[in-house]
């Protein structure tokens, strides 16, 4: 479904992603595990196309020069130079890290904004689905999203992405800054989304422990380079992964 080959991303002369390739099959959950500054967010921004927008904005103000090499193919079409909003239309949606929401709009309005590409009838059905998936959000309906807690905002971000009815969901560090309890709630929700909709999901994360058990295939990256790949169980049994991510 998604095929990334030989992706390289430079910020000025610094190499953020080095010759990275991966494949995602329909209906799978894939994880990219790496520590801080491993290139996870750069990868997600490149997959979703947001980096094209950043690149233009940086060019305008004479800031960092961003250079991209390699190709991204989605449903066997080359989307390397497709704008982010068009990638969303093709069915690929990213939840950015640190749960960005529209802080001044209330919760329901956030979901409505996310339904921009849908018909009005589909929007209300979508809102109902999100509330069924995250029952905690129901009583916060009319609260301004900026006043929600981190976990609630993260649920909302995922809810907003689901409003788009994507074929592929990209989650950039969905567990960042959350309590272990909230992490479990979200992991359960992700499993539930997969079970109910058969959505293809790509997750980047540094918390390997809650993520590895549910994935079909995982990649470990360090300093922008792929160091290891395998199924969830293979990775969990690997002594190096154990040492680096489980502290054993």
């Amino acid at each position: 479904m998604l095929e990334v080959s030989n992706l390289m991303v430079f910020y000025e002369n610094a190499l953020a992603l080095n010759d990275f390739s991966m494949k995602v099959e329909q209906g799978n959950i894939i994880a990219i595990i790496g520590s801080n500054s491993a290139g996870k967010t750069t990868l997600m921004n490149t997959l979703s196309g947001l980096i094209l927008d950043t690149k233009i904005k940086e060019q305008r103000k004479g800031g960092e020069r961003i250079t991209l090499y390699g190709t991204i193919r989605f449903e066997s079409e080359d989307i390397t130079n497709v704008q982010p909003y068009d990638r969303v239309k093709r069915g690929m949606v990213l939840c950015r890290e640190r749960h960005p929401i529209f802080p001044e709009s209330d919760l329901v309005e956030n979901l409505k904004i996310a339904g921009y590409l849908q018909k009005s009838s589909e929007v209300s059905a979508g809102v109902d689905y999100v509330f069924r998936l995250f029952p905690t959000l129901v009583r916060l309906k009319s609260r301004k999203a900026g006043f929600l807690s981190g976990g609630e905002q993260q649920m909302l971000t995922i809810g907003m992405a689901l409003m788009v009815k994507p074929k592929m969901l990209l989650l950039d560090e969905p567990l960042l800054g959350l309590s272990p309890l909230m992490q479990n709630t979200l992991v359960d929700a992700i499993k539930k989304i997969r079970a109910e909709t058969g959505l293809t999901i790509v997750i980047t994360e540094q918390f390997a422990r809650p993520i590895l058990p549910m994935i079909d295939h995982g990649y470990i990256i360090e300093n922008g380079m792929l160091t290891m790949e395998g199924s969830g169980i293979e990775l969990m049994d690997n002594p190096e992964v154990k040492a680096a991510y489980f502290g054993v």
Partner: protein, 290 residues
């Protein structure tokens, strides 16, 4: 005396909110600068005058054409000027203000400064409330002004396009990653704002002659209303219009008309010191509370 002040204060307030609505839609709600707003307003006035007097068009056709033309000009301003500096707020302000300056001073250079430049009223006549006479044009202003304010509120809260306007102002990247083409939405927003400036112009300008200097006053008033009401809030625009509108009328009545112009400037000053996000401002409210 008091009655006149109250009634004309009300009308003055509606005029202010009418003037500010378009500016608020572009700058407040969508976060795109259009400081050529005053120029658009005056340009629409001259356009109607030219359509009627030089091309002898019927009045309402001229009005519709002028609104469409001004909106189109707004779109062109976005496409050819703003798009190149989008994201750099100061550059956006300077570039659009420069364009506005060029348009206004071009009119002055071409000699559009005499008293012959007046627009016809919508309908002639007046009504009497108590002992105060109000002409039909001012009633039109009140009616359309209220309708547009309500319309703008409903538009920005209940339509997809309106929600997208507010989305790109709050978090452009999130909007992009939800499939909202932020460049296109911003362009539409500038076009809508310019169109509203034209609507305000054809309603308000028939009260006197069209003068180039009014373009600057319009921009200052629109800015004052938006800053005091708080960027991004339609309710704020209306409340601030009434505050400034009545303050101007009372100053006019008790201290003399030459003090009237500084009211909005003083109001900007006070609000920036006391509550920088404005009375109903949302933009910074969250940060201030934390």
């Amino acid at each position: 005396m008091l009655e006149v002040t109250l009634i004309y204060g009300f009308i003055n307030s509606i005029i202010l909110s009418l003037v500010a609505l378009g500016f608020s839609l572009t700058f407040g709600i969508s976060g795109v600068s259009n400081f050529a707003y005053g120029a658009m307003y005056i340009l629409a006035g001259y356009a109607v005058w030219i359509f009627i007097n030089k091309l002898s068009m019927p009045f309402f056709l001229a009005v519709i054409l002028a609104v469409v033309l001004t909106a189109g000009l707004g779109l062109a301003l976005y496409r050819f000027v703003l798009l190149r500096v989008r994201g750099l707020v100061i550059s956006e302000v300077i570039a659009t203000f420069g364009v506005g300056l060029a348009i206004l001073e071009l009119f002055r250079y071409l000699g559009f400064t005499t008293f012959e430049y007046t627009l016809p009223v919508f309908t002639d006549g007046s009504i009497e409330i108590g002992n105060t006479y109000i002409d039909h044009q001012r009633l039109w202003i009140v009616g359309v002004g209220i309708a547009l304010a309500v319309g703008l509120y409903l538009f920005t809260h209940h339509t997809k396009l309106g929600l997208a306007f507010r989305a790109i102002a709050q978090d452009e990247k999130t909007a992009l990653s939800l499939g909202i083409n932020s460049d296109r939405i911003a362009g539409i927003s500038v076009a809508f704002g310019s169109g509203l400036a034209a609507v305000a112009a054809v309603l308000i300008l028939p009260r006197g002659t069209i003068s180039v200097n009014e373009g600057y006053d319009v921009l200052i008033n629109a800015m004052a209303v938006c800053i005091i009401g708080g960027l991004g809030s339609t309710v704020g625009v209306v409340v601030a219009s009434f505050l400034i509108g009545y303050a101007q009328m009372l100053t006019d009545a008790f201290s003399g008309p030459h003090w009237k112009m500084i009211v909005s400037l003083v109001a900007i000053l006070i609000i920036l010191v006391v509550k920088p996000s404005g009375l109903f401002g949302k933009q910074k409210e969250l940060e201030e509370r934390i």
